[in-house]
Symmetry: C2
Subunit: 378 residues, 2 copies
C-alpha cells in the first residue's frame, strides 16, 4: 500500500538522531509529540521478525520528558496519577496513568524519580507540560515544569543485553526492570533504564547531549554488529501481540484507565491526594461499561485501521477496533478492541466492519496467548 507523503517543517521536529534514521532508510514516519517518529525501515513485517530475533536501535526522541522540579514536585506528580507513588525510590521508574478529574486519561507515561524533588514524566502523545503547568499555577504549587532537551534512544530485542554488555560492560546488566542508573559515555553520565516499548526486552538511554547523540548511536551500532543490529522503531505487530496500548490510538481522554485494563496501576482506595482517584474509584465500584481486549480477526491481511472499525454482534454495535495488523507468528490478524459489557469474554465471536468488508473475529485475553495456546480459540 502506498503511504501518503509527509511534509516536514520545524514544527514536526527532527531529533539529534534523524540523520542516522534517514541514512538507514526510514520507510515511514509518524508525528508524535510534535516530533518525527519512524514507523518502519525494511517494512513493518521484516522489522518485526528482526526485532523478535536480534536487536534494534530506536530513535524515540519523541518520547518527551516533562520535568517537575521543586518542593512540590512530588505532590504534583501524585496529583496527576491514580497510581500511589508514595513508596517510589530514587532510581525507580513507574508506569502511571495520568487521569483527569472525570476519570479520563490524559497520558500514560513512565514516571522516573530522579531526586526527592525532581521527576521526569516520559510522555505519550499529548502536551502534558501544559496540563502540569496549568495545575501548578492554579494550585499555587512551588514547582518548575519544563520540557528539557532529552531524546531517548532505545535498544530493543532479545540481544539487547548482549549489545549493552559489549558497549558498557557490567555497568548495565544489574539494572532491574524499570530501574535506571547513570552510565558514562565520553565523560558524560547518561541515564540508562531497563525499559522500552516492546516485549522483547531492552534499554532506553536518556540522551541529554545533542552533541554526543550521533557518536553514541555509532558506538552502539558498532557494539551491535556481532548481534545483527538493525534500525527499528515501535512495531505495530509486536506491540499488538504484546498488549501494549497506544495513547491516542487505543485509549483517549474518552477512556478511563480501568476500561483500558490498567487496573493494577490504579490504587483507587488509597489515601493519597490525586485528581482522578475519586472518579476512578466510583467507576471501579460501579463496574466498567466496556473493556479493552485482544481480537483475532479472520481472513488475510487487512488495510490499516486508520479510524475505529465498528464491531457488532450481527445486529447491534458492541464496540470498536482501534489498531490491527497481520501477525505472521499467529497467522492471523491481531487487534485491540474496546467491547461493551456482555461481549468481552475471551472466546466471544464478533463481526468487524474493516476496510476490506465485514470479517469475523474471536475475542482474546491480553497480552495474546502464545500461538500454541491461542489455537484453542480457533
Amino acid at each position: 500500500m502506498t503511504l501518503p507523503a509527509l511534509a516536514v517543517s520545524r514544527r514536526t521536529r527532527r531529533t539529534p538522531f534523524s540523520p542516522r534514521v534517514e541514512e538507514l532508510g526510514v520507510a515511514g514516519y509518524t508525528v508524535y509529540n510534535h516530533m518525527l517518529l519512524a514507523t518502519s525501515f525494511r517494512g513493518v513485517e521484516e522489522d518485526y521478525h528482526h526485532l523478535k530475533s536480534h536487536v534494534q536501535i530506536w530513535d524515540v526522541g519523541c518520547e518527551r520528558q516533562v520535568e517537575l522540579k521543586g518542593p512540590d514536585a512530588a505532590r504534583l506528580a501524585q496529583l496527576m496519577t491514580v497510581r500511589d507513588l508514595s513508596n517510589t525510590q530514587i532510581g525507580q521508574g513507574l508506569y502511571a496513568p495520568l487521569v483527569d478529574v472525570d476519570g479520563g486519561m490524559v497520558n500514560d507515561p513512565v514516571i522516573q524519580k530522579l531526586e526527592e524533588d525532581r521527576f521526569w514524566l516520559s510522555v505519550a502523545d499529548s502536551d502534558v507540560w501544559l496540563w502540569a503547568r496549568g495545575l501548578a499555577y492554579g494550585l499555587g504549587l512551588d514547582v518548575e515544569v519544563s520540557e528539557p532537551d532529552v531524546w531517548p534512544l532505545a535498544i530493543q530485542g532479545p540481544k539487547a543485553d548482549a549489545l549493552m554488555a559489549a558497549a558498557f560492560g557490567d555497568a548495565v546488566s544489574g539494572i532491574r526492570f524499570f530501574g535506571f542508573q547513570p552510565v558514562a559515555f565520553k565523560g558524560h553520565d547518561f541515564i540508562i533504564a531497563r525499559s522500552g516499548w516492546s516485549k522483547q526486552g531492552g534499554f532506553e538511554i536518556y540522551v541529554d547531549r545533542a552533541d554526543l547523540a550521533l557518536d553514541l548511536w555509532d558506538f552502539l551500532w558498532d557494539a551491535g554488529r556481532p548481534f545483527n543490529v538493525g534500525p527499528g522503531c515501535p512495531n505495530l505487530i509486536e506491540r499488538i501481540e504484546g498488549g501494549l496500548l497506544s495513547y491516542g490510538n487505543d485509549m483517549t481522554s474518552e477512556n478511563n484507565p480501568l476500561e483500558c485494563g490498567l487496573d493494577r496501576y490504579c490504587h483507587v482506595h488509597g489515601s493519597f491526594e490525586s485528581l482522578g482517584r475519586e472518579a476512578v474509584a466510583r467507576i471501579h465500584d460501579e463496574g466498567v461499561k466496556r473493556k479493552v481486549r485482544g481480537l483475532r480477526i479472520d481472513g488475510g491481511p487487512l488495510k490499516p485501521c486508520v479510524e475505529p472499525w465498528v464491531v457488532h454482534d450481527g445486529s447491534n454495535a458492541i464496540g470498536q477496533v482501534t489498531s490491527a495488523a497481520w501477525s505472521p507468528d499467529f497467522a492471523c490478524n491481531v487487534a485491540f478492541v474496546m467491547l461493551n459489557h456482555g461481549f468481552w469474554m475471551p472466546g466471544q465471536s464478533v463481526r468487524v466492519e474493516t476496510l476490506d468488508g465485514e470479517r469475523g473475529g474471536i475475542v482474546s485475553e491480553l497480552p495474546f496467548p502464545r500461538p500454541e495456546s491461542a489455537q484453542a480459540y480457533a
Copy 2:
C-alpha cells in the same frame, strides 16, 4: 524533492472531509493537533498561484475548538490571553495570543464569543484543552472545558465571496472581518466566520455535523465551479508573503508575543486579570531582545527549512530562519527570521546557513511589501 511517507493511524485523526481531500489528490500531509492537514495538492507553487487567483476549499478540521462554557468561561478566557477581551461582543472573533506566566506563548487562537458564558478557542498546534483544564481545576473555576466535534472548512481566495454568495445568497456578504453568524444548510445552522489562514480573503465554516460534512463540501464545490474552485490548504509561500506566523514553526513557548510582532494584541498595561500580562508588561518595558522579521534570501529555490537555519553577520550568530519558500511573485526566497537587537532593521544584510550552503539575505518588514516596493531593498 521526495517527501518521506506518513503512516496514518487512529491517533493521527482523519476528518469528515478526508475522503474528498484524498479523491482530489492530496500530495502531502502534515499532522496538526493530532489530526491530518493537507500541505499541497497540485504542488505548493501551483496551489499558490491558484489561491491568489481563484477560490479554494480547505479541510482545516485540525483547527480544533476548545470550548469554555459556564459562569467562569469569560474569566478563564481572559486569564489565558494578554489581549483585553472585556469589550468583545457576542458574534465577534479576536485573534489572541495565549501566554504563560513567564511570557512564553502557549498558542495563538482566534477566540470566538458565542454567548456571554460560552467561548470557542480555534487553536493552533498545542493541547490548549489540557492547559485550560489544568488552570480551571487548579483555580477552582466553574467552567467546563471540552473539545467539541467541530471541523472547520475554509473557503479562501479572491473569489471566496462570489462562491459564498452563489451558495448562500446574501446571508454571508454582510459578515464583517472576524465576525461570524449562523447560516442554514439542510436545516442545520452552521457558524460561518469571515476569517481564514490566508491573506486572500474568505470564510471559515464551523462544521459541527459530521453527517452533513460531505454534502456541504459537494454543495460548495458545485457553487464554486464557475469560479474555478480547487482543493487547497494553508500555503507555505502565501503565508510567508503575507506575514502569517505559524505556532510551532515561527514562534514557540520559548518566544514571547512581543518578539513575534504581536504587540497590537498585547494590552500590557490594562487592568484585566491575565496570567501572562505582568511578564509581557515587563518585557515590553525593558524592550525585547529579538524580533521576527521577513527575510529575502538570495539565489534560487532552497531545500525546505525543516529545522532552524543559523543567521550570522559574517562572524557571530544573530538569529535564525524558521520558515522559507521560493516566491514566484517576488522572484526570490522569502522567509521568517528571528533576529537579535541591532540586526532587525529592514535593509540589514545577513548571511544564512541554508541546506544549500551559505546565502546572503536582506531583512524586510512584515508583511513583505509588494514586489514593486520590495525592489527598493534589492
